[in-house]
Amino acid sequence: MVSFLGQVRADSSQQGDDVEALELQHYAPLTLPGMEALARDVLGRWALDGLLIWHRVGEMAPGDPIVLVAAASRHRRDAFAAADFAMDHLKSESWFWKREKRAGQWAWVEPREQDYADLARWGQAGV
């Protein structure tokens, strides 16, 4: 079983290392079907005994767990590939709006186009 656990970074997406809190907002009518479609896609690509894709939303502190993906398979190579693929796509197919708190002030994090680069590894465009 391969698992990936992501934790909230202290220095997050922009300069500095003074992030006090992170808030992720999602829109469930889009996020949940997207995650379910991703899970179906992963299960169709590799022979897995089990798959878990979990993502927190709401307010979190640096060091908090934020995402967990786990894939179990008879074959180690499948489990690694499935977890890696799921993480790449979860990042880009999920609709998350993010803001960070620094010195008591919340600020929204701007989009970055380069987030789609990881998807190129899998030979398809980001959705």
Binding site: Q7, V8, S13, L24, Q25, Y27, W95, V109, P111
Partner: protein, 83 residues
């Protein structure tokens, strides 16, 4: 019965709340009833619309009673996690 608007990310700050009930009708009419600052932000080229969970184009859109229309600004970039 009303229709519902949902504002994500920074659009919720501009709208003064994450949701708003509006009378059913054309999106053009609903936007006209908003303040110009909010209407301009919602009409931005990078703001996408989801009607009852499905992405749609805004042109000519008419909201019926019970519809939910979400305004989705570009999603935030960068990684917030270490692994």
């Amino acid at each position: 019965m009303m229709a519902r608007l949902v504002f994500l990310g920074r659009l919720a700050d501009l709208a003064g709340g994450a949701e708003r009930e509006v009378a059913p009708g054309s999106l053009a009419r609903i936007m006209a009833d908003m303040g110009p600052e909010l209407a301009q932000a919602l009409a931005g080229p990078r703001v996408r619309l989801a009607l009852n969970g499905a992405l749609v184009a805004g042109d000519g859109l008419v909201l019926k009673a019970g519809d939910e229309l979400a305004f989705l600004p570009p999603v935030s970039g960068g990684s917030s996690r270490s692994g």
